[in-house]
């Protein structure tokens, strides 16, 4: 599983970083990006799903 942040859509709500800091980080402006090239380690699948389901801008996607 991989997660991806669409940097054009991200407006820095920081929901993904709050919910899954293992998968996302934020830059100095507060905009999010995925860690480890988006790779979701085993056991973090639910956190990845939550990050998608809590992004107000629909900026995060998952690739199985």
């Amino acid at each position: 599983m991989e997660v991806h942040v669409d940097r054009e859509r991200c407006q820095g709500h920081n929901r993904c970083y709050a919910l899954a800091p293992e998968l996302f980080d934020v830059d100095d402006l507060g905009n999010a990006f995925e860690l480890n090239d988006g790779l979701v380690m085993a056991g973090l699948e639910e956190k990845a799903r939550l990050a998608v389901a809590n992004c107000p801008e629909y900026a995060i996607s998952i690739k199985e």
């Binding site: 407006q11 970083y17 709050a18 934020v26 100095d28 507060g30 389901a53 992004c55 107000p56 801008e57």
Partner: protein
């Protein structure tokens, strides 16, 4: 100016007014009815105003910076005039700015409000909450809005700007003037603004900071550069007004509404008292269900939106709190579920104007509720009819008399 000078609203689809007592008391049934019958309402009040209520329409407007300008974001009888800073800068950048200037003005401020910068303010905020709660020690009844919620964001932002803490009352009066007296006549409002009190106050703080620079947001703005030039004085002043106004009654409303909810739901109090970790989803659910902020736009050019003939200069209210109750997006939209795991709410707006202070607001809300619950795990309203709500585009309880049932050891 507290008297309501306007005729009562009879038909919400053709004559709505966001300062009407019925809207102020409980806007949710009004939005439900409009969502079913007429998703974009129109009113001739305030010189012509539109109101979308579905999530998809609110989002579409928020994302459309071509047909809608942010030049003014507070609906009143007064539209921006020839003497006001024109688009794309506007009177209080970046909230009143449009692309492309908006991104520059916003980028300047974002680092000061990033999650990591805000985390550093948490210990001070926690101390402040404890101090406010300690001041209520021994009282069995007190006002949770007046004695607790309102002070938290106010004191934090005064500290961030480097203004004197004893000016809190002055700040409260300015907020009242700008955000709550919007039902006032055009003449009254014009006169208020022309008195220039706010500019005078800010100019005095700027003079102090120029004479003696400090490690705060005011000095930061005075020294900041855009394209190698210092910011224009009106840009600095406008941004300071924005930080003073936008950061305070919004968060105080969110804290107050959350406590108001908890005071009426013993099962939710028990849940938070026994499982403090539920706060992570609970605070997002409070933000969704009781989102305080309705934004506004001006139509930038004539065009048709959802079959509605929008004319340049029309107001448009952008009710994120209504989008958050749209059953097309939220399951059981009117139920408050503290463990709601999937919550794409837009309490902080959508698109390029996402609330700059959202990380600060979330930290303040979480800390305020955590400290309250740790001190007063069980409490109730003294009398629901004594609760009063603010009028205008920021909705929150202004008086919440509570009775303490259990104080933690």
């Amino acid at each position: 100016m507290t008297a309501h000078p306007r005729p009562p609203v009879i038909d919400w689809a053709t004559d709505f007014d966001h300062t009407d007592p019925q809207w102020v008391a409980d806007p949710y049934p009004i939005w439900d009815e409009l969502r079913r019958a007429c998703p974009v309402a129109r009113s001739e009040r305030y010189g012509g105003t539109w109101l979308p209520v579905r999530h998809r329409d609110v989002a579409a407007v928020a994302y459309d910076t071509e047909h809608f300008t942010s030049r003014s974001v507070v609906v009143s009888e007064v539209r921006p005039g020839p003497d006001d800073m024109p688009a794309p800068i506007g009177v209080a950048p970046p909230i009143t700015s449009d692309p492309p200037f908006h991104a520059l003005a916003r980028r300047l401020l974002l680092p000061a409000f990033s999650p990591k910068a805000i985390a550093a303010l948490e210990p001070l905020t926690r101390d402040l909450c404890r101090e406010l709660l300690a001041a209520t020690d021994g009282k069995t009844e007190f006002d949770a809005a007046v004695e607790y919620a309102q002070h938290i964001p106010l004191r934090v932002i005064i500290g961030m700007l480097g203004f004197p803490q004893e000016d809190a009352d002055i700040f409260r009066r300015f907020i009242q003037m700008i955000l709550e007296d919007v039902g006032a006549s055009a003449a009254h409002r014009q006169e208020q603004m022309e008195r220039g009190e706010i500019d005078e106050y800010i100019d005095a703080r700027i003079t102090e900071h120029l004479a003696q620079p400090r490690d705060d947001l005011t000095t930061f703005l005075l020294e900041a550069e855009l394209d190698g030039n210092k910011l224009a004085p009106e840009h600095v002043r406008g941004t300071m007004v924005l930080l003073m106004i936008a950061g305070i009654d919004t968060t105080w409303s969110a804290i107050g509404a959350s406590l108001w909810h908890l005071a009426q739901h013993s099962e939710d109090r028990k849940l938070l008292a026994s499982k403090p970790e539920v706060m992570a989803t609970a605070m997002e659910e409070f933000l969704r269900a009781y989102a305080p902020v309705t934004m506004a736009r001006l139509v930038a050019k004539d065009f048709e939106f959802d079959g509605c003939p929008m004319k340049e200069g029309d107001w448009l209210l952008l009710p994120f709190p209504a989008a958050n109750r749209d059953p097309e997006v939220f399951d059981g939209a009117d139920d408050v579920r503290l463990d709601r795991a999937d919550n794409r709410h837009s309490a902080f707006g959508l698109g390029i104007h996402r609330c700059l202070g959202s990380n600060l607001a979330r930290m303040e809300l979480r800390v305020a509720l955590e400290e309250w619950m740790a001190c007063y795990p069980d409490f109730e309203l003294v009398d629901p009819s004594l609760v009063t709500w603010s009028a205008g585009q920021v909705r929150g309880p202004r008086q919440i008399p509570v009775r303490i049932l259990t104080k933690a050891g």
